[in-house]
Assembly symmetry: C2
Homo-oligomer: 308 residues x 2
């Protein structure tokens, strides 16, 4: 059984204090992460803040042919039964990759690979703290004081998320489609917002990021039809050329943004703050729409039919 | 001066016969490609059909810290003056990466690195054949008979693109936003369609891909508001679990697709066919909207302001 969904959201501040890492690792030349949807996003967000080795996140059934004994393979599936990740993990074991798994159980936990077991009872997207922490503890920082600070930032938002509710109200008031504009190293956080709108609010949503979006997305901002159906959300706190791009793009194309201002001092603090802000905006928007954030009937029906 | 834009489109069949490769390469452990927008997409499409080494496409000013003497760095900027790519290339040279460049001139051509020089006179997005061919000749196949077959497929479409015009008519008839659904190895081709709509038709457009989209995008397909503002385009020709996902997702969420059926026997033939179909759909849609596909005033104004 799942916890109440708001309790799951409020659990994020506890999850970032989850003490888990991948243990002793042999040297490796590259990292391949397999994970889909709410599980895979942990790998994608990690891939953007770690750059000491190539990291490829695979969202498919297979593995790249270069994956071999010199590869650290991490399979992430909250349920442990995601068909794409189970297939990729078996292939990684066959090839002799160094394998680590993150799961709460299921088929993945029975493959005999070294596994970080995370608690059951969450929606995968509400278990992000558990799913990403082993990466952070192993590769970014093992200083738990950092995670304590992050935890306080997150629980402050649990106490007061009226800003996030206001943003949800603006989107809902216009029955608009969110178009979330991020920038490095928060590109995948922007994508996380998109997926949270998809799942928690059950609405279409899209993401893009500076500077790349200036070469594609922004060109029609001035000319397109249908722009009035979208709400443009942008992450604040950028600097240098990116800050200029954010500002000039708005001015030149007459595009109004709703700005999401991160709190925190370090990149990691800002990152978690922005993630959690997206949790709350999408959650409040779901409430305003009177939908059940836990309704994943589309996914369940799809899985059933794929098995037959 | 640019050629007439339709002539640029029709040049694609000639471009795939462009004889160029990266020459002798020393051994490398990974590939880092820097490129933005219409230039970067050549690297992204390549990265999806090559998997003998990790490939990371960087759409930003910097380089990952792992990039070193064991890295093959390829900088792609059609103009040669893209600020992000120029900055990344200088950094790659500083770090002792093995450097190759693809450009028609500009600052990039003056850095003293080994360079594939491509013809001037095109919009970067209309020079994709030139920009991707060095990757294909070097890493995928040097069999020119393959490219001759691709060339014939493309010029057949130049002669008759009434199917593509019909698709454009459907999108334009509803003043809808294209939402292009791809699948591996055509995920980046779906993204190319999105960017071609952005640039050639000057409209917002989005892309996603199976199986990942079933974990995110598809969940609200059944519940969202605003769905009537979109046209869902899907690439045909999938098989196995992906084919099932495409079909079941449509049925379960009551989502009607416009299917784009690729021609050709090999992956490479289908890939180029699908790319060119997107060129024509976006081009016809731009004509129907009576916009100038070559108007990149937003980008030009942005570049001017970023310099000051």
């Amino acid at each position: 059984m799942y916890m109440n969904f708001e309790d799951q959201l409020r659990d994020f501040s506890r999850q970032v204090k989850f003490k888990a890492n991948f243990g002793e690792l042999s040297p490796f030349k590259n990292i391949v992460i397999s994970g889909m949807g709410g599980s895979g996003i942990a790998g994608s967000i990690f891939s953007e803040i770690y750059d000491k080795a190539p990291v490829q996140v695979v969202s498919d059934y297979g593995l790249p042919s270069y994956a071999d004994r010199d590869t650290l393979f991490v399979g992430i599936s909250y349920s442990g039964n995601t068909e794409e990740t189970v297939a990729a993990t078996k292939e990684a074991m066959r090839r002799g990759c160094q394998v680590r798994l993150i799961t709460s159980g299921g088929e993945l936990s029975e493959l005999g690979a070294e596994t970080v077991v995370v608690p059951k009872g969450y929606q995968p997207r509400a278990a992000l703290g558990y799913l990403i922490k082993p990466f952070l503890s192993t590769f970014i920082t093992s200083d738990e004081a950092q995670y304590d600070r992050i935890s306080r930032l997150l629980s402050d938002m649990d106490t007061n998320n009226s800003n996030e509710k206001d943003v949800a109200g603006k989107i809902f008031g216009r029955r608009s489609i969110p178009y979330v504009l991020g920038y490095p190293p928060f590109r995948w956080v922007a994508y996380r917002w998109k997926t949270q709108f998809n799942e928690n609010s059950k609405i279409l949503a899209f993401s893009a990021y500076f500077p790349e979006l200036d070469h594609n997305d922004a060109i029609p901002f001035k000319h397109t039809y249908g722009k009035e159906n979208f709400s443009f959300l942008v992450f604040g706190g950028s600097t240098g050329q990116i800050e200029k791009r954010v500002r000039f793009t708005s001015e030149i194309t007459s595009t109004e943004y709703i700005t999401i201002q991160p709190k925190g001092d370090t990149v990691l603090e800002k990152l978690f703050y922005l993630v959690h802000a997206g949790d709350y905006v999408s959650y409040h928007l779901g409430n305003m729409r009177k939908i059940d954030p836990e309704d994943v009937s589309v996914l369940t029906e799809l899985k059933e039919r794929l098995k037959s």
